[in-house]
């Protein structure tokens, strides 16, 4: 599945939601990182949303008792 490339406008919107002041220069600086990372992260999302792993709980849960 191909995804539309993330744009600088997308970065600006996300930064506003995150209350992170990002100048246009900073938006341009991190745009290539997001363009590289997000498709792979979305691919992992799709993998982890499949029925065969629906029951998989995250490793970030409280685990009382023995730690191993």
């Amino acid at each position: 599945m191909s995804e539309p490339a993330i744009t600088q406008r997308d970065v600006a919107v996300l930064a506003r939601y995150a209350d992170l002041p990002l100048s246009e220069e900073r938006q341009q600086a991190i745009l290539p990182i997001l363009q590289s990372w997000v498709p792979a992260a979305n691919e992992l999302n799709r993998r982890m949303a499949e029925d065969e792993v629906r029951g998989q709980i995250p490793c970030t849960i409280f685990a009382f008792g023995n730690r191993a």
Binding site: V11, L14, A15, A18, L20, P21, L22, R26, A29, I30, I33, L34, S36, W37, V38, A40, A41, N42, E43, L44, N45, R47, M48, A49, V53, Q56, I57, P58, C59, T60, N66, R67, A68
Partner: protein, 468 residues
């Protein structure tokens, strides 16, 4: 006696026999630091006066029959994200350029209690968020084997401090590979412990769910000796494991007959520079000669580990740095600032799916450990590249992003919490070191040290020193 060429174990034994004074060890180390630090930027702080005073006291105690322990009189360095009471602790940053903690990190306190002498704090990738140790505030750390090359990171200064014989061991930290990577490219031993095995109290965090601390040394025995001093539960670290500790030196002499070594086909030996491929393959052959059995063990979901690592390793630091990033963004180096800004913009679903993936991957490895005792792979797919490089060529002349490339193999233990040990296993045609990564079961560091020690005993890679 060439004090610089003694291992930690040999130096410690010589101190106990009163053949060598801690003062002489410290003086030798300080001399080496003076000789190489301008060329390598390995140290941010050097405690010359204090270390000599402590060494004098250490000598007096030993002469009076008071032996503090396994590390009595041994000069060590610490990565500069490890708090040392009253000493400058910068985490390689401008943000903490004037910070003097009011207490030791637990690892530091335990090393002191075992008699160690701290000689200085080592340069590193800023806030440990990177794999090159190209530090914009304290200088780019340089590889002692070739100072035009990088030492990897983020514990690059620690790796150089050990390889260049300025100390007998160092404490590094490892989130995504930051002990193992500099150990590999500096030709030394370094261990990422089982998550929770060594306290993180008093260490500036990078990613809480993946952070560990561990020793970096010239030999496996030295690493095991230091590990004995620092492993164990710490009530001040909420993630600290209650699992009883072992004597990590107890199995170093045991042979490898019947030991089962797992290799993940289609991943562990794919996408490597030829020198790395050949060196680690030869290492597996050597282990077979020692009696080990090498077994292919597929891991169904190993692909995807790099994305998961990038997500977790960027989101968690971004939350730690939220306030500083808004109040003083210009105090960060460009690469770390960009990564912290990026981590703020990944989605919550990305983060939780990555955490679910970690649990799945861990289950697959735990199932695989019913068939093998350890896994072995290269620590990273390339040898040391140029200082300042943001890309690397691994095969087919194609340039790849450094960060993603460097974590090709170190991500598995980072994501799963498993322990892993880097051991030197060769050199490329330019004389740059190659390292192999031995991955073990939870809390089975003893077996990692056994495999590493037996391999070391049959080879000489660890004996070679950089000519700096």
């Amino acid at each position: 006696m060439d004090l610089q060429e003694l291992t930690l174990a040999q130096a410690a034994a010589a101190v106990k026999k009163k053949e060598v004074s801690p003062v002489d060890l410290v003086k030798a180390c300080l001399g080496r630091i003076e000789a190489i630090n301008d060329k390598t930027s390995a140290y941010i702080s050097v405690f010359a006066d204090q270390a000599l005073k402590v060494a004098q006291a250490s000598e007096a105690m030993m002469m009076a029959g008071h032996d503090m322990g396994a590390l009595h009189g041994i000069p060590l360095s610490l990565k500069d994200n490890v708090s040392l009471k009253g000493q400058l602790t910068t985490a390689g940053s401008k943000v903490l350029a004037d910070w003097h903690p009011d207490d030791d990190a637990t690892v530091a306190r335990r090393l002191r209690s075992a008699g160690a002498i701290f000689i200085g704090k080592c340069n590193m990738h800023e806030f440990a968020w990177g794999g090159t140790s190209d530090n914009p505030h304290y200088g780019a750390v340089r590889n002692p084997w070739d100072t035009s090359k990088f030492p990897a990171g983020s514990s690059g200064g620690s790796g150089v401090s050990v390889a260049a014989r300025t100390c007998y061991g160092s404490i590094g930290t490892d989130t995504g590979g930051s002990i193992r990577l500099p150990s590999a490219v500096n030709g030394i031993v370094g261990i990422r412990p089982t998550y929770g095995r060594v306290s993180n109290h008093g260490i500036i965090p990078l990613a809480w769910s993946m952070d560990t601390a561990g020793p970096m040394t010239r030999t496996v025995e030295d690493c095991a000796i230091m590990f004995n001093a620092i492993a164990g539960h710490d009530h001040r670290d909420p993630a600290s494991a209650q699992q009883p500790i072992d004597d990590y030196t107890s199995d170093l002499h045991l042979d490898l007959k019947g030991l089962r070594v797992g290799v993940v086909p289609g991943y562990f030996f794919s996408h490597l520079q030829p020198a790395v491929h050949d060196a680690v393959r030869a290492a597996l052959t050597q282990l077979e000669r020692l009696g080990a059995v090498v077994v292919d063990v597929p891991i169904a979901n190993i692909e995807g580990n790099i994305s998961a690592q990038l997500t977790v390793e960027s989101v968690e630091p971004s939350t730690y740095h939220q306030k500083w990033l808004r109040e003083r963004p210009d105090d960060y180096g460009e690469d770390v600032r960009a990564l912290l800004e990026t981590g703020e913009l990944l989605l919550a679903t990305h983060y939780v799916q990555a955490q679910r993936y970690r649990a799945l991957l861990r289950q697959e490895f735990m199932e695989a450990f019913k068939r093998v005792d350890v896994f072995i792979c290269p620590t990273l797919p390339f040898t040391a590249t140029d200082v300042g490089a943001m890309t690397v060529v691994i095969e087919d002349g194609k340039e790849e992003d450094m960060l993603s490339a460097i974590m090709q193999f170190t991500g598995v233990p980072s994501l799963t919490g498993l322990p892993s040990l880097n051991v030197p296993c060769g050199f490329d045609q330019q004389g740059l070191p190659v390292g192999m990564q031995i991955i073990g079961k939870p809390f089975d560091e003893r077996t990692l040290f056994r495999v590493g020690a037996q391999f070391e005993g049959a080879t000489e890679f660890h004996k070679r020193a950089p000519q700096i």
